[in-house]
Symmetry: D2
């Protein structure tokens, strides 16, 4: 049996661990052959491949990024995309395809499997942890660790200068990174995309924190929005090119806090640092197990499925179901954490 | 309502996060008073207390250890132990007691609750992750992270000198730390207490690794034993005081490997470094949530229960059930990981 | 003898280590008393003090920030500033004042000593390492370490997506952080304030890097400027409030690279994370020794001097000389490092 | 010109950075060719080489260990060693040899240069920092950082259980790692090979520390010896094989402290973890510059010289001089640090 592997979407610590898990088990236990497709769906679309065997996966476990490269290419939007993918898989004599990616990349895998009979197995990947049907995705733990370390460091600057520090973390549609790193970092305010925030309430928390002579840290997900946000954000964050929201909600919020509380406020945008570099031990464990179970699903002929974490077990769920909706922060959980605000 | 808190057994990153979670929520949401008992069960036994309020828990979230101190004192073994504990709790006007500890400490809490009507709520704590009824305990993730970093570092020494490096990690009765850090660190052999190992097999893996011109890392839990181990270990590791096993299984194994394979082998015993210092973001999150849910159990009058992690939820289970047996590594999981051996 | 201590200017990992060194040696070896002035020169100006003895410095060695607080208050610009400082020092019965700070804070100390007979000893502090007369200042090593870790992480994102990543680090007037972290992080271009850069040359390096199929990392000091920079930066980076250069040279450069090379480019601004949190071992060593030598200078009656690092020795130099000019990157050193560009 | 490169002795973070610096500058600026000799002096002795060009040094900057391998082979002790080295260098058409190593490896380089006319340039390498003629050697800063992190972690365990923690760090002949990490980690006792220690004095410091209700950390270099040490250590640390000093001074000291103070004491031996893994930013900077200057010395025909750090400059000194004696800790410096003992 010859199996193809591809990685799509934004990069995420742990991708290489998945690939290594797949290949080690596939070769050693099932005697499979592998071929890597380059840059996500662009690989099968353009028949661009890379050799994938035991030597190719040596030493990649602790390395961030993906040895296969990645892209956001979508074969469903390419001319004759599906046909070309099918043809190239055939040319490569690939009988099954393991697709490692997020909502978009897996969405294609689901459709190829369900509608076009291509044998796919999915592995969930999103640094934002917002993929439904799995307790956690790999990369998330690493990102939270990096953000927490940054918040730990910012505390001392905040205290020494009695300033508000606003930290903008990743999370366009879900506040998981903000929630976990904010709690772990001892933030005084955490703002997430799932609940529009009230700037007045934020300022009240900030002020109350100063009253007990401590300087506040505000952690805000990049996708968080003020209650009457659209208007305000558009108004104030036009950049010199006329582009909207260049500076992001973090910058905007710091200005609002300065204006309304009279306290100095500074913003740190963590950005790409959160998604690069060596995966945490947790993510190497999770990613490796995803890889081992993905190739097991191929062996079992259990296609159209995605591996997922439930408690400490790896289970299989229909890809289509997993990509049908986002996993957002439950209001009850946000409220639970709210005891630390202010 | 006045609530007592104590921490017992070996220290573990996250203890302070639990205490902070309990006090913040207890004071702010339920208006409870708190008293800290010093050094585990020694506190209520000898009426040794420490004030516990919001200022007392400020800034402790990222700090390892426990502000309450710890000990292995067991009131069931002290003269009039139970009576003294009951009297001192009464003196302190404590109506409920939150007990943070491992098997032993919680075992006392279970008996005090079930047999003597003392209102206790348990919070599971073991760096070894071997407490039944919870997916993970806090401190474990930190320990695995530290061990993995150490293994990452040892790879380069092994490679540069073509030596075997044996890394002894914590885990007397369960191999969780060895299994997770060994997998995450890319170890070539992982040995756990749950399965006696065959020295010949270990040497075969070591030799095969060298054959592909890489130097092997062997991760061994401190409680791992060779198949015919009792005899051998006792024989060879008597120290100069006549004490048994001073040097541990790591030292013993390195000598065996040298003798049998002719390759140089070195041992690193990670020791206490694994259980100290700042908790990882994951452990701060878990420990804080355990604290929040423990005080909620008090509020609900749900005594004799322990908080536990199931997937991403915090649930409650009878303390007695949780301490009834160890959670050891499932043979199937060990086999799954075995694909990376050799 | 009673000695005052103050910390001024931006915070910097190691400040607490200096304070601890001063107090431990002053109390234990010379039997001095201490008083801390709060928030830099604001303390002696407004007679705002904090007790400073052995218990006050316990446990502060690994902590970032400063237990004395900091500010940019300048008594030379305050009404009757000098007189008030002298009066308050007299009120506090302070016979000597140790001033820990950068160019501005030490500049005041030099004038107070040289012109007004106030007995001061200086300790150099600047995260940017641009203070003349000392090989290194504490805080710099920590900042370089943090920036290097960030660059390490960004490599994998750059590679996985074949993007240019621009990293903006601290350094308004001197490029030390950019130079050290850029070299240590394996950057392909490093831009410093000391030498105006040529955007075309930067783009040539970027393009050449892609040609060997690697993705480039560009490290730029916040104070770096393009050759014909004033005009260009002002033109393009007006923000929506009409403020100039809100977004900084990093953002500007990324846009230029995108426009001129057609490659995707992203910017990460490391910001305050570089100056907070626990000091590196190197900085704890240097800062502690600065503290020990500063109090020794007081004991020797050697006022108007600043402690400085020369090789592995701590020496004393006139404060006035040390603050007379900036230590910038030597063109020869920049050229030496240039072998790694492109 | 064709230049050979070899790395000898124990591995050390930064070796790869030196190699990369040499090759990048040699190829790009001087158009030299390179050949790598494998495993230190074994390479030229047995004509065992590895290709060394720009692609060979890509990505190795952040990696610990050495891509050339290492050994302690000494051609002066091999049969016809010198002749074979000369012949093989001739076979490889190598006109100059850059030797990266410690006292032993460089000692050979000095003799080959001074007595046999082989053109060598030396680069100093010792994790222990005990090589005369250079302010610092690369690897040392990394080791100190790792040891300091470990000590930071051990503090919380010491405090939570009120135990003495003895940390044994590297340093057979010089106490640099103990001194720097002990100071940076806030140790209460630091013991170095340069000065025999008095166990009674150590116990007095330990007891005094407990009196102020803190738990002591004792940092001891592996080569430190008690005043009447030979006898005592031999007596008590015979292992079950009759080997002497298996368990080391750390274990021995902990037992002495337990016996004499009645306090629980535990030992952590950091071991190989200190010398592996990614180099710190400081070491990458220093090692890279050593590489750049070594190849410059070759270009200048300045043979028999070693590059060395003086302040912030790289200078050249005769190899023979540099290896003539050890750089040990100055008694005055040890006394300076002694203010923190007890």
């Amino acid at each position: 049996m010859r199996v193809g592997v591809l990685t799509g979407g934004g990069d995420c610590p742990g991708l290489n661990a998945v690939i290594r898990g797949i290949v080690r088990k596939g070769v050693q236990e099932y005697d499979y052959d592998f071929v890597g497709f380059r840059d996500g769906w662009r690989g099968p679309l353009e028949n661009d491949t890379v050799p994938l065997d035991i030597p190719a996966v040596r030493g990649i476990l602790p390395r961030g990024g993906t040895v296969l490269g990645s892209s956001r290419t979508n074969p469903l939007q390419a001319e004759n995309g599906i046909r070309r993918v099918k043809e190239n898989l055939a040319k490569q004599e690939v009988e099954a395809l393991i697709v490692i990616g997020g909502e978009d990349t897996l969405g294609v895998a689901a459709r190829l499997s369900d509608e076009y009979g291509i044998k796919t197995v999915g592995v969930p990947k999103t640094i934002d942890n917002d993929l439904y049907a799995t307790d956690y995705t790999f990369g998330f733990n690493t990102a939270v660790g990096i953000a927490t370390e940054a918040i730990d460091r910012l505390h001392t600057t905040a205290e020494s200068h009695m300033r508000v520090l606003v930290v903008e973390v990743m999370g366009r549609h879900a506040g998981w990174i903000a929630l976990h790193s904010g709690l772990a970092g001892g933030a005084n305010v955490i703002l997430i995309p799932e609940q529009r925030f009230d700037v007045e309430q934020v300022c009240a928390w900030v002020t109350s924190r100063f009253r007990s002579s401590y300087a506040p840290i505000v952690v805000v997900a990049e996708g968080a929005m003020p209650r009457d946000g659209d208007v305000v954000l558009k108004d104030e964050s036009l950049d010199s090119f006329g582009h909207v929201r260049l500076s992001g909600v973090g910058e905007w919020l710091a200005k609002q806090i300065e204006k309304r509380t009279g306290k100095e406020a500074r913003t740190t945008v963590l950005g790409h640092v959160q998604r690069g570099g060596t995966p945490s031990a947790f993510d190497r464990w999770l990613a490796t197990r995803f890889g081992l179970h993905a190739i097991e699903a191929v062996r079992d002929g259990d296609f159209g499925k995605m591996v997922a974490l439930r408690g400490t077990d790896i289970v299989r769920v229909p890809i289509a179901e997993a990509t049908s909706r986002l996993k957002t922060v439950d209001p009850a959980l946000y409220e639970e954490v709210g005891v630390f605000f202010g």
